[in-house]
């Protein structure tokens, strides 16, 4: 049979002939789909695009920082480049990345449902997201914004001459997409679980997405209202943040970080869920401390709301409040540490397969630990006074968001790619790109810890010549990192056409998503499964030889 297109490939099973990918043809069948799997792919394509746009902005920034002088970008241009990078990366890549792509694709499959609770709302959420994203792009074309992704007042409300209102509107709009997705996931997990799928049998990926959804629903409205208030002050001069008009200058930071600190957990909790799945599958072992991992997701979602003041230690916040926020910030590290210990304990005495997804998971753990521990340093009042608004902070949050979340995103992409597309990708190349990304990442961001500690402030492109060596290292690292991100694009797309058929369970993993064909049929399950056991019941073969399904098992050493 010819293999002209990816959908034309040799059907190796009866199910593959009728998968969600070929259940309808033409653009209309994608743009009007209610299928959570197709919506996940719409998100995958759109966030990859936004990732590339924001990545180009990062490339401009790193190129400009090669020399201590301002030789590539004007001062204005530099401000607009890092604002664009931050706004697009945060709201149009990181926040929707894992939940909207993998959460959408996997939650119904993992809990034994045919779709999310509100399929139309799911599609609406993608359109709202695209409206916000395209508005952002329009603003970029018109000239951009220069406020940074944080939109701090009074600059954003009073002084900036850029398209602040448009950027606020774009983020405001995309917020509704987050809220609707969160609502959808919460109701799906409560109402659509297959018979026997008790809360204690949910894969930990689902628990972490449940916790994320709670943050989506409870934090995002605060951001929306805050941005609206900035717009009110900017357009009508209503005194909310400007003390000259009777406002409170710190109120903006309080309200903004009440959303934006939990938003860090929106980015990292789904990544933790991914890593839990990757680690158990690679170790082929039951997860260590199921309830501790599930409970720590919920604890992070709740305590994460109580720490926002750590962004305001030098902003004029009362020192008593700062002490409280400092203490709470240290407390929120405990559930994160619990997860790290549990992953490590799961690996202990495991039969570890060093495949691509596992390397990405390992990269996540290592980089997340560095990001988390430097976060503890920043939570200390005295250290924060020294390194506030320096590259130390920039390095810290990139370790969490890029080292952590983006590594997990790529891990998820490699691990579930055979399920999503029905094709195996090259394991060798996935290991190469995991190593490139890990190495390039550290070379980019580790020097920034040193730069920050020595006092280089963030958001400046003219710097003291003594900082140049470290900046050049960082820019070279960023090129390697960029290559590492481009590489998967090539072999993953290659696999669409030339990859071997994956079969239902190429990793020999547990979980309902691996019990259906790859790619899954349109409605996931022909008959809704009856769940009789908990998750992660490894080893598959030794316990029940008649349940064995992974050909990969033979290759394990």
């Amino acid at each position: 049979m010819s293999r002209r297109t990816s959908q034309d490939a040799i059907p190796d099973t009866r199910e593959e002939r009728a998968s969600y990918l070929n259940a309808g043809q033409g653009l209309g069948s994608w743009l009007l789909t209610h299928d959570h799997k197709r919506i996940a792919l719409l998100y995958l394509i759109s966030i990859t695009f936004f990732f590339a746009v924001a990545g180009c902005a990062a490339a401009l920034i790193r190129a400009d920082l090669l020399t201590p002088e301002a030789d590539l970008l004007s001062n204005e241009g530099y401000n607009r480049a890092f604002s664009l990078h931050g706004i697009i990366m945060v709201w149009f890549f990181l926040i929707p990345s894992i939940p909207n792509v993998f959460g959408n694709f996997l939650i119904p499959l993992m809990i034994g449902a045919r779709d999310v609770a509100f399929p139309r709302l799911n599609l609406a959420s993608w359109y709202i997201f695209m409206a916000g994203g395209l508005l952002t792009l329009a603003i970029v074309v018109m000239g951009g914004v220069d406020t940074g992704w944080t939109f701090y007042t009074p600059y954003s409300s009073t002084y900036s001459n850029a398209y602040v209102i448009g950027a606020l509107a774009a983020v405001f709009i995309s917020g509704f997409s987050s809220i609707l997705t969160g609502l959808n996931f919460i109701v799906t997990v409560h109402k659509c679980r297959a018979p026997g799928m008790t809360w204690g049998r949910l894969p930990l990926f689902v628990w972490s997405h449940y916790a994320t959804s709670v943050i989506f629903v409870l934090a995002t409205p605060v951001l929306s209202i805050t941005l609206l208030l900035v717009a009110l002050e900017r357009i009508f001069g209503v005194g909310i943040f400007d003390p000259a008009l009777g406002g409170d200058p710190l109120l903006f930071q309080h309200l903004f970080w009440f959303y934006s600190h939990p938003a860090v957990y929106i980015m990292v909790l789904p990544a933790m869920g991914v890593v839990t799945e990757l680690i158990t599958a690679a170790a082929h072992k039951r997860v260590f401390g199921y309830w501790f991992i599930a409970g720590s997701s919920i604890a992070i979602a709740v305590i994460g709301f109580l720490v926002w003041g750590h962004h305001m230690f030098v902003a004029g916040q009362s020192p008593y409040a700062s002490a409280v926020f400092s203490f709470l910030s240290i407390v929120v590290a405990v559930p994160s540490a619990i997860k790290v210990y549990n992953w490590t304990a799961t690996l202990h005495k495991g039969e570890i397969l060093l495949d691509g997804p596992f390397l990405f998971a390992l990269a996540f753990i290592g980089l997340f630990v560095v990001g988390g521990l430097t976060g503890l340093m920043l939570a200390m009042l005295a250290i924060d006074v020294h390194v506030h608004d320096t590259y130390f902070v920039v390095a810290h949050f990139h370790y969490i968001m890029v080292g952590g979340t983006v590594s997990a995103f790529f891990g998820a992409l490699h691990y579930w790619w055979p399920k999503i597309t029905g094709r195996l990708h090259s394991d060798l190349w996935s290991r190469v790109s995991a190593i490139l990304i890990f190495g390039g990442f550290n070379m980019t961001f580790f020097p920034q810890f040193l730069l920050g500690y020595e006092g280089m402030p963030r958001r400046y492109h003219v710097y003291d010549p003594s900082f140049q060596v470290l900046n050049v290292m960082s820019s070279v690292g960023a090129s390697i990192l960029g290559l590492g991100y481009l590489l998967p694009l090539t072999y993953l797309l290659w696999s669409l056409r030339y990859g071997k058929p994956a079969g239902p369970n190429p990793w020999g993993a547990t979980g309902l998503e691996w019990s259906v064909a790859s790619p899954p049929p349109k409605h996931n399950f022909e008959t809704i499964p009856l769940v009789a056991t908990g998750p992660y019941r490894y080893p598959l073969e030794a316990d029940a030889p008649d349940e064995g399904e992974g050909e990969k098992e033979a290759e394990r050493v």
Partner: protein
């Protein structure tokens, strides 16, 4: 009590509370005024949630979900106050 009568009564109560808010704004209450206004607003929101949004007919889970927003608002206000009152 019929359903429509109940709705009318709740509506009347909301209007009464609105009148109270307006009335209070004319009294020389000073710094106590915002506290009173917020208390009245909270009572109105409670009536809307309980009757118009029909939380009274829902189970514990839906009530908890309805309450969650207020619990989180309490987080926000408590820690905001921790800064404002000690600055």
């Amino acid at each position: 009590m019929t359903a429509s009568l109940r709705l009318v009564l709740v509506w009347a109560a909301l209007m009464g509370l609105l009148a109270l808010t307006i009335g209070a704004s004319f009294l020389p209450l000073g710094p106590v005024l915002p506290v009173i206004s917020y208390a009245i607003a909270a009572a109105k929101a409670g009536l809307v949630l309980w009757f118009f949004m029909e939380l009274r007919e829902e189970g514990g889970l839906a009530r908890l979900a309805g309450m969650a927003g207020f619990i989180w608002l309490a987080f926000l206000l408590t820690l905001l106050a921790a800064d404002l009152t000690t600055r």
